[in-house]
């Protein structure tokens, strides 16, 4: 059995497009035939659940029962990858409780692989959040995300300041989520389907959709760029190395 991989997607503040990243990740893994499940911590009703109802369960990270539902099932689940969309502001608290339940210890012993996508906000305070998080990240892949999806994001910090934080972290990567055309973004929200379904012009029930070709084109172009970023940091290698090998063997 392959080592299970856990991915946390979190941000210190809301409105930075955190769920966008989770959705793009789910689409990416599913497109790569990697069995994936997701937990949406925006209890009681989650945004991620709305877009990916088949693989997503809504949980309350403060509840021990729900924590057990996520972590105690790891050795038995069919899913190779578990994506957890962490509610805004709860990233460092979640990391603390992961340490307390011995999860980080398990990652250290290489019983599982642990990856954190940290969506940066526009303020300097957001960078100091990296400091708070980094203490937990010794045995994790740490990916900092600059999200430009809605273009309202204006980063107050300059590259030099950012780099001084970035360099403190061992084994960190940073990726950029490009801007997506506003109307395309809005129509995907209204359609409430995965990006991949929108591009393929499919409605939530699998029936043919009636989306604008122009908007689908924008989403396809954007998703291609986002996935290229995931490829660049070798995400598949991180979470499912044996899938990569199988793929390579098939090619050979």
């Amino acid at each position: 059995m392959a080592k299970p991989a856990v991915i946390l997607v979190g941000a210190d503040k809301g409105g930075v497009g955190k769920t966008t990243v989770s959705r793009a990740l789910l689409d990416y893994f599913i497109a790569h035939n990697i069995r994936t499940r997701a937990f949406d911590t925006e209890s009681p009703k989650g945004t991620l659940k709305r877009f990916h109802p088949d693989v997503t369960e809504v949980v309350d990270m403060h509840s021990t029962a729900d924590q057990m539902k996520i972590f105690d099932t790891l050795p038995h689940t069919d899913a190779q990858v578990t994506v957890i969309d962490i509610r805004a502001g709860l990233l460092s608290t979640t990391l603390k409780s992961l340490r307390d339940i011995g999860f980080l210890e398990a990652a250290k012993k290489a019983q599982l692989t642990f990856t954190v996508f940290h969506i940066l906000g526009p303020s300097i305070a957001s960078l100091s959040e990296i400091d708070e998080t980094v203490g937990f990240m010794d045995d994790a892949h740490y990916i900092l995300v600059k999200n430009f999806i809605n273009n309202t994001t204006f980063f107050e910090w300059d590259p030099a300041t950012y780099n001084s934080y970035f360099r403190k972290i061992k084994d960190a990567h940073d990726i950029t989520i490009p801007k997506l055309n506003e109307m395309a973004c809005e129509q995907v929200e209204i359609a409430s389907v995965p990006y991949v379904s929108f591009v393929a012009n499919k409605a939530g029930d699998g029936e043919p959709g009636n989306y604008s070709f122009v908007l689908r084109g924008y989403v396809r172009h954007w998703l291609g760029n986002v996935w290229a970023e995931f490829d660049r940091v070798k995400l598949i290698d991180m979470v499912a190395p044996e899938v990569q090998r199988k793929g390579a063997a098939r090619q050979a």
Binding site: M183, F213, V214
Partner: protein, 236 residues
């Protein structure tokens, strides 16, 4: 074989080279055969094609996403209705950057749609560059230079617009005398209406239309038959 839907994109990189005249004549070329046609007047502000052919033309400004949808969502329809796009020089870059961003070429490959660009040439160096850029950026898109004999001395700049592999040889449009041009430019003038009314088959305009329509027919054949082999082109 499934019938392909042709799209003719008439454009230039400089104003006043006869682009709208050519788009009008091309739209009426289809009307003259009683074939359905859809024309699109792609201009930032001043619409001309739509004034001439209001029954067939839709205006599209590309100023926002809605404008892009009004145009491109129609252009990807596989309805076999030929489309004529009168693309203003100021929107040339915008139009093709949208084509690139929404990956229009991949979509037309998937569907039975055949686009072709008719690039109205002129002596300006920027036009030469703009033509070369378009050719390099979209190798899959048939690109045909249109040499309008009303625009400068064609022999002086013809070499700036070499034929492309998919587009083929340049098409020539004869010059119209100023008097005839002023008649044609009247808003209520229609080529089809003129042919129906006139008895004089030797008039300048009649001959002009004859030559231009033959060129259009040839373009349509080029486009719908796809790539013509070089041998065939030489023997022609």
């Amino acid at each position: 074989m499934q019938r392909r839907t042709p799209i003719f994109i008439v454009t230039s990189s400089r104003p006043r080279v006869g682009k709208t005249l050519i788009a009008r004549a091309l739209t009426e070329y289809f009307c003259a055969q009683n074939r359905p046609v859809g024309a699109f007047d792609v201009n930032p502000d001043e619409f001309k094609l739509i004034d001439h052919l209001p029954a067939y033309t839709a205006a599209a400004s590309l100023s926002d996403t809605r404008g892009e949808m009004a145009l491109f969502d129609q252009l990807v329809l596989e309805d076999t209705v030929p489309k004529v796009v009168d693309l203003n020089h100021q929107l040339l870059d915008r139009f093709f950057s949208v084509i690139q961003q929404i990956d229009f070429m991949a979509e037309v490959r998937r569907r039975a749609i055949a686009p072709m660009v008719l690039f109205v040439a002129d002596p300006d160096e920027r036009s030469r560059q703009s033509y070369a850029k378009l050719r390099d950026r979209f190798p899959d898109l048939p690109l045909v230079p249109v040499l309008n004999e009303s625009v400068g001395r064609v022999s002086a700049y013809r070499a700036h617009f070499p034929p492309t592999r998919l587009g083929g040889e340049p098409v020539s449009i004869p010059a119209l005398s100023p008097v005839v041009r002023s008649v044609v430019d009247r808003q209520n003038f229609s080529f089809v209406g003129y042919v129906q009314k006139t008895n004089d088959k030797t008039s300048e305009l009649y001959e002009w239309m004859g030559r231009v329509f033959i060129s259009f027919r040839e373009l349509e054949v080029r486009l719908l038959l796809g790539e013509v082999t070089p041998q065939l082109r030489h023997s022609a």
